[in-house]
């Protein structure tokens, strides 16, 4: 997998926090979508409890994943489509690259797809001479700017209209304007040419339905419908977990997906694709390929602690409420997936040790669970990851963290079971803390190592002059006198 930058979390987070434009954009986004989504769940005719129903549907689908994928593949093949099961990112990418090579593809138009970001498809296609054009407006903007998405649904949220204006003047040669409708129209014009000329359409999959044998895609712009209708070949990439058994279950998930993603009752375009066009049809691709990607998902499936993560349908509602994401932005998470979903899924897909800072950085406030359209217990899995990092786990390639923490707790246990010694140390600390720099109300500004990390961004309360026990005894004495 290319482009994993999870080791740089702390550095990138600091950069995000220092960027006032990003902070303003994110707080606007969270203000609108965070609240709106909660309200949209409440307004559901079935009530917000529909999220629990959805959770049960997802659990059942995951528990029967083999059967659902077999059925999906059999149906699509029966309709003349091709299905490829890829164990790894490399297999998925080389299948796509091979199709492109065989069909002599020069230009590919792409709908927004996180799984293709995950497997690193674009650079490989580009290396064999295929021009790959992102067509979601946000994705197009960041592709022109040579950047990566910072939000699953709003990938260019970190760009201002002025930045977009300058970019379009430079790359599209249009007169300078900061008017969003005019900028959008410039992109519409440029991309329409690409759509009409492209040989290959690439899309992700929001959800597939096994019973009927269709994948489905959701978009507001219509770019995915273009990419799956006009070019002669369509390849769809799908994380292997994105399937449900039946249409009635699909219906529930789609409604929650649209509410979680963008506070909509339904996206403007929902397309169900079951195969290539038929011989008498005028449009639609003559070849349809579905690439089902494992790439580490079966490991999550095998581990009861993390199986629940496969219920996620990447609506990104958790990003819109997360206080950490809202301050550091999506780039800090160093991979295709950001926010709380990224903090769990990125380490599991790309290496828990490498991505340890992602789960340590989240606050465990629980907002993500309340916002999750599938009612996934993200905070529980963040804790599981932290426990795994502390205790070590060979199956995830994590060694225990030297036992320092364990020894510290043992020392603490020893101290508190010897009250005399404990009080003596407290008194010593009360005296020694005077040597440390103090701030308002006597709070300690900086602690010496190994505790200095704690006071890097906050103060530490001082040890009281008098211990609680001494104070208690004194008060009782006073009360007795009164």
């Amino acid at each position: 997998m290319s482009g994993v930058r999870t080791e740089r979390y702390v550095e990138e987070a600091r950069r995000g926090i220092a960027d006032p434009v990003l902070r303003r954009a994110l707080s606007g986004l969270q203000e609108r979508f965070g609240r709106g989504t909660a309200e949209a769940y409440r307004r559901l005719p079935e009530g917000p409890g529909l999220r629990q129903t959805a959770h049960a549907i997802r659990e059942k689908a995951i528990a029967n994943l083999d059967l659902l994928l077999e059925r999906l593949a059999a149906r699509i093949r029966g309709n003349g489509g091709e299905v490829f099961f890829a164990a790894t990112a490399a297999e998925a990418v080389s299948y796509g690259a091979e199709v492109a090579r065989r069909r002599g593809v020069k230009l590919a138009v792409k709908g927004k797809s996180m799984v293709t970001e995950e497997i690193g498809l674009n650079p490989v296609l580009a290396a064999q001479g295929v021009e790959v054009v992102e067509t979601d407006l946000g994705e197009y903007i960041i592709q022109l700017a040579g950047e990566t998405p910072s939000h699953i649904i709003a990938p260019a949220i970190h760009k201002t209209r002025n930045e977009v204006a300058e970019l379009f003047v430079q790359k599209l040669g249009i007169p300078h304007t900061t008017d969003p409708p005019r900028l959008t129209h410039a992109a519409r014009r440029a991309l329409r040419e690409k759509f009409l000329a492209a040989d290959l359409g690439i899309s992700g999959v929001n959800l597939a339905c096994a019973e009927t044998g269709h994948i489905s895609t959701v978009s507001n712009e219509g770019n995915i419908r273009m990419a799956t209708t006009l070019p002669r070949v369509h390849i769809a990439f799908m994380g292997m977990e994105r399937v449900v058994a039946r249409l009635d279950e699909y219906e529930i998930l789609l409604r929650l997906l649209c509410r979680g993603a963008s506070v909509q009752d339904i996206g403007t375009y929902v397309s169900f694709i079951g195969g290539p066009r038929r011989p008498e049809e005028t449009d639609g691709p003559e070849e349809f390929h579905l690439v089902v990607v494992d790439n580490g998902r079966s490991r999550m499936l095998a581990d009861p602690r993390f199986r629940e993560m496969l219920s996620c349908i990447r609506c990104a509602a958790c990003l819109n409420v997360c206080p950490v994401y809202g301050r550091i932005g999506g780039h800090a998470y160093g991979f295709a997936y950001s926010g709380p979903v990224g903090a769990v899924v990125t380490p599991l897909l790309t290496g828990v040790r490498r991505g340890r800072d992602l789960c340590l950085g989240e606050t465990l406030c629980g907002a993500c669970k309340d916002a999750c359209s599938m009612d996934i217990d993200l905070p529980r899995m963040l804790l599981e990851l932290r426990a795994l990092l502390a205790a070590g786990d060979a199956s995830w390639g994590v060694e225990p963290t030297g036992g320092l923490e364990g020894r510290a707790w043992k020392l603490w246990a020893g101290l508190v079971s010897h009250p005399g010694l404990y009080e003596g140390l407290l008194r010593a600390a009360a005296l020694l803390q005077r040597l440390l720099p103090h701030g308002g109300a006597g709070w300690i500004r900086r602690l010496p190592p190994p505790f200095s990390g704690w006071t890097q961004s906050r103060d530490f309360p001082p040890v009281a002059r008098e211990t609680f026990r001494a104070r208690w005894a004194k008060r009782r004495q006073e009360a007795g006198r009164g």
Binding site: I157, L247, T268, F272, T282, D294
Partner: protein
């Protein structure tokens, strides 16, 4: 390329992860029911037993849902008033990409009922009618015919389609893919006009899926190879969260609801010659 060794290994890994014997497959009947559930039957009964008053309520709900989506809905009395609306749009709107005014429409009785051919011909405005490909065509000839139809669709500023269903709850038109009814007619032109009969309006997706799964008339075709839900014109909010209509698909969308009985249907007019330029621009 299908069902090779790689695929076997993929499924073995998957079953092992699920805690199942890696080679064994299981019956899947309980996952894919063969009979409608009680809920499905309730939905089917609701659709078939809908009273006139309930249908009126559905239309009202459709109007309410369409407004915030910028989907313009008109309930018309008959073909004549629908034709007037289309002709007014033809007169008022200008082609987004320049060039002459041209229209493209599916070959469909409901659209033929509009009788657009003559008034457009009088104005010298071409009306392209799409048609299915002859399966006997040689590959090169078929490719050539596809290219021809596509360039006409792309050159048209208005595309007229019907719909299989319409969902009141979300103001959604539902199009199944069928030979002769290219989906790009609802995609490439800047303005999309969809025609439905009032009886095609359902309450929501639940009803639609119950019909597509269990109702004899619709089951055979099912979802078809490409089912589209379209709820209003194309839009984006990717630049500073400002809503803009017309991202890639149509900038404007109109839904014309015809009554179930249209006494003013023209008769004796044969279907338009397939995709012949003479059809409109004689």
């Amino acid at each position: 390329m299908a069902e090779g060794r790689g695929e076997r290994l993929f499924f073995e890994t998957l079953r092992r992860a699920l805690g199942r014997p890696p080679q064994a497959t299981r019956p899947a009947e309980d996952l894919f029911p063969q009979e409608p559930s009680a809920q499905d039957l309730r939905l089917l009964a609701a659709v078939s037993g809908r009273s006139e008053r309930e249908r009126e309520e559905l239309v009202a709900r459709l109007f309410a849902a369409a407004a915030p989506l910028h989907l313009q809905v008109e309930a018309v009395a008959g073909f004549a008033s629908a034709r007037e609306i289309v002709l007014r749009l033809v007169a008022e709107k200008t082609p987004e990409w320049g060039g002459e005014k041209q229209l493209v429409a599916w070959r469909h009785p409901l659209i033929e009922g509009l009788g657009l051919t003559e008034p457009l011909a009088r104005q010298g405005i071409p009306l392209w009618i799409t048609h299915p490909l002859d399966p006997g065509l040689a590959p090169e000839a078929a490719a050539e015919e596809r290219r021809r139809q596509r360039s006409r669709i792309a050159a048209s500023f208005i595309g007229v389609t019907t719909a299989d269903f319409c969902l009141a709850e979300t103001a959604t038109v539902v199009l199944r893919s069928r030979p002769g009814e290219p989906r790009s007619v609802a995609l490439l032109p800047s303005i999309h006009i969809a025609l439905v009969r009032r009886g095609q309006i359902l309450a929501d997706m639940k009803e639609l899926f119950a019909l597509l799964r269990w109702e004899e008339r619709f089951r055979g075709e099912g979802l078809s190879p490409y089912l589209s839900f379209i709820s209003g014109p194309s839009k984006t909010a990717d630049i500073e969260a400002t809503m803009v209509h017309g991202a890639h698909g149509p900038r404007e969308m109109y839904l014309l609801i015809l009554p179930d009985e249209t006494p003013d249907a023209p008769h004796g007019r044969p279907a338009q010659t397939p995709s012949s330029p003479e059809a409109g621009a004689a």
